[in-house]
Point group: C4
Chain length 266, copies 4
């Protein structure tokens, strides 16, 4: 019994990135990363008819293999989490099973099993795409690195400033769309005939994407368009500047936490 | 009488974000934010004929409800501001009534009442758009957050540098447009036949929007176009760098004001 | 004689921004700024036939007035510079006359006088554009502000890093153009038939302008195009990051020079 | 014999940028930079038929001259490297000959000699392009400047953060492409008929290039397109912010290493 407990403990340390005692990822999780990456690439390529038609059996076969791998992995993880003080007992397992990481693990294999059983092809495409959610497992593993700490600290520390600059962006978006609707709405009903329509132009211009499917034709519209483009530069500059200052802070804090001082000389 | 004064005081603290004694917004102002947001989204959607035709009565009805809400709110605010030492008495009220926030509040309901009374539809579209100015009320409430302080301090501290980089942008804009007018003006009169026309291309290129409605065709024009694009990168980099440094300063100053020291260790 | 000297001294302090004893610009130079701005806007508008045809006489008339103003200003400046210790005597005046600011002043009025005397219209367009160089006078005045000091210090301090990132950009430009020439050169001779042609696509993609006049059509070309776009993000990020750090330095140094310490608490 | 050794030492100090005892580049290496730059420009121009047809003999002739120059340079470098303690003796030479810089030097002249000997023109284009790899020699020389140290330190110090933001970009890329495939896949099979196809749109939108060859047509697609564009702004802001903070660090460290203190006042 103690042996089983020790085995479970060892497996838990292998499969749960939070429980791994060394830096980085355990060998098991590294293998999972590879399988998730490969299966995601295959799930992407499979949607392309010209690629799938080359070897439809190979794709189906690979999908079965991945499905079985994830199918086996799920109960192992569920069992191993029993070694986690947070998820002890039956209640703990249920709590684990409804936690977001476990649901992502579930989604990783369920569609592979369900899709072949469905008779029609109505929601076939959508179900297949569910497999792409496996890729989210990579995000979970990244959470435990120092770099992720920096990124998330910088964003959360300055979330209010970032939200305010998003709000400012929405203001400019609405007013430039309204202006364009007034200036060009009557000439080009299809593109600027209403504010929601003009907002498609606005968002393309403010983000400096500029597809060129719609653009102003009158002099007034071009002046407003030019001003909107320049405002777009400001809207890129604002969050970038906020994030730059926030990263500077986050890096400095890590340094202080390590060396006990904010200056490089210490 | 003292009771009325105390009620007015209480209402004033609810409706004036500057007078609210706790952090954030009072419940009343939170409700106002929601109503303004919803009524703005409706004012935007309403301009789209395919949406309005689905339920023209519902839109008209909602508009009436919002109009009445803002109509009721305006005299309440005017009356409650009497508790504000800055706007005491009749003179104070008049000063309040001609202050920008009060005018925005007025615009928030006047068009809803006036539009249905107008016989023709000549300036109908413009009047309806006035309602969108309600959205400016959100800006007023944002002014009292720490984040807004950071943003505005960063921009105002470095307004000269930002203005100079805008001036530099205008220089490059004018000279690239003049160059394109010389190089391509004779081949493509419609697009580059004058400097103002070429400026439309210039602004699209410098801001890296690049609609693609006009672009150079000659070798010389393409070389100038490439140089203008690269200059555009510089024009994005300059304000972004200025703002990044300014935000760094603004955040540091807040920290100093709070902790009495600029370093993290203190 | 001493009176003339004192008058010259006074005029010199008015016309030479470097000699003005107070902050900002002297009233005379502020007037010059306005005249230069107005005459530049007119020189720009004049190239647009639909605008000039509205009042060709008014434009010609204004041009004469501006020409005469600058014609009068030039000898006044030349005479007043005699009060400048650096430009004393005849030799000093000649040295002043061939200095870049004086040449810009000369260009400001010469074309206005020469253009009407020319019989043909061959180089007429080019000569008229020379007047636009007047706008450079604004740049000269900006040089004496603190903000300009920040901008130029940040750029010159990090000119090597900025040049290196420009060199890196040229590397990526050349190799992405060469790659596209190999991948798409045979299919689309007009757009990718040689490296110089493909460089037009490369520069549009790397700077994220993306006119859309040419874009890859093959799978390999699209993959290279995607990688080039992502490299373009890096090429925007690099100079922006360099400038942000440099501005941070430049602002800090100004603070130190003023307050004798680098921290906000001092 | 000692004389030959001293000559070899002197030549080594001239040709090996790492061995040069003063700042910057040796006169020999400066000449090499010029020749490499000129020959690269010629190799680029040569691919343009309209340019090459003007003087095909001159281009062939120049190519021979450059080939001979690099052919002579290679054994000289190989011989001179004997003065380098790291590459002494025959074994050292072999180790030098298979080091990346030596291989780039080899590629710099081999194609010039091999191309004219080949009978067919099958891989002619590709071979000619090999000559462009000469340009990589410039990169090798840049490695020894302070600025390059800043750039590479900033990037390597924050490579994890930069990789994470690249991973985040790939996540958004995949999910926006998958979303567009679901929303527009049936309407526009050519552009959005599979996830790999939709990724071309995604990468163009996220990097804000926006060629405009494909863009969403349905309302849902336009909403997703707008959100993707805004996410693109974030993806530009994130690496830029990381690099800005990293450059700030790298510059500060250089300052500390030079002056022994992190503050400007010391």
């Amino acid at each position: 019994m103690a042996e089983a407990g020790r085995l479970r403990q060892a497996i838990w340390r292998q499969v749960d990135p939070e429980a791994y005692q060394r830096d980085g990822l355990s060998p098991t999780n590294r293998a999972v990363v590879c399988i998730v990456a490969v299966s995601s690439i295959i799930a992407i390529l499979e949607t392309e008819p010209t690629v799938e038609d080359m070897a439809p059996r190979a794709f189906a076969c690979l999908e079965w293999i991945f499905g079985i791998l994830f199918l086996v992995e799920y109960p192992v993880r569920l069992w191993a989490e029993g070694a986690n003080p947070r998820f002890r007992g039956v209640q703990g397992r249920i709590r684990y099973a409804i936690s977001p990481p476990a649901i992502i693990d579930l989604i990783a294999f369920l569609p592979s099993l369900v899709v072949p059983l469905l008779p029609g092809t109505a929601n076939f495409m959508l179900l297949r795409l569910f497999r792409l959610l496996r890729i989210l497992r990579l995000a979970r593993l990244g959470r435990f690195s120092v770099a992720m700490g920096h990124l998330s600290r910088a964003v959360t520390d300055r979330r209010e400033e970032l939200l305010l600059s998003l709000m400012l962006a929405i203001f400019i978006l609405v007013f430039s769309a309204a202006g364009m609707y007034l200036l060009e709405g009557e000439n080009d009903t299809l593109a600027f005939g209403s504010i929601p329509r003009a907002m498609w132009w606005s968002v393309c211009t403010l983000t400096t994407v500029g597809y060129g499917d719609i653009y102003p034709h009158t002099v007034g519209g071009k002046i407003l368009g030019g001003l909107t483009s320049i405002a777009g530069i400001g809207l890129i500059a604002m969050p970038t500047g906020i994030l730059a200052a926030a990263f500077s802070d986050a890096f400095q804090r890590t340094r202080v936490a390590r060396h006990g001082d904010a200056t490089w000389t210490a």
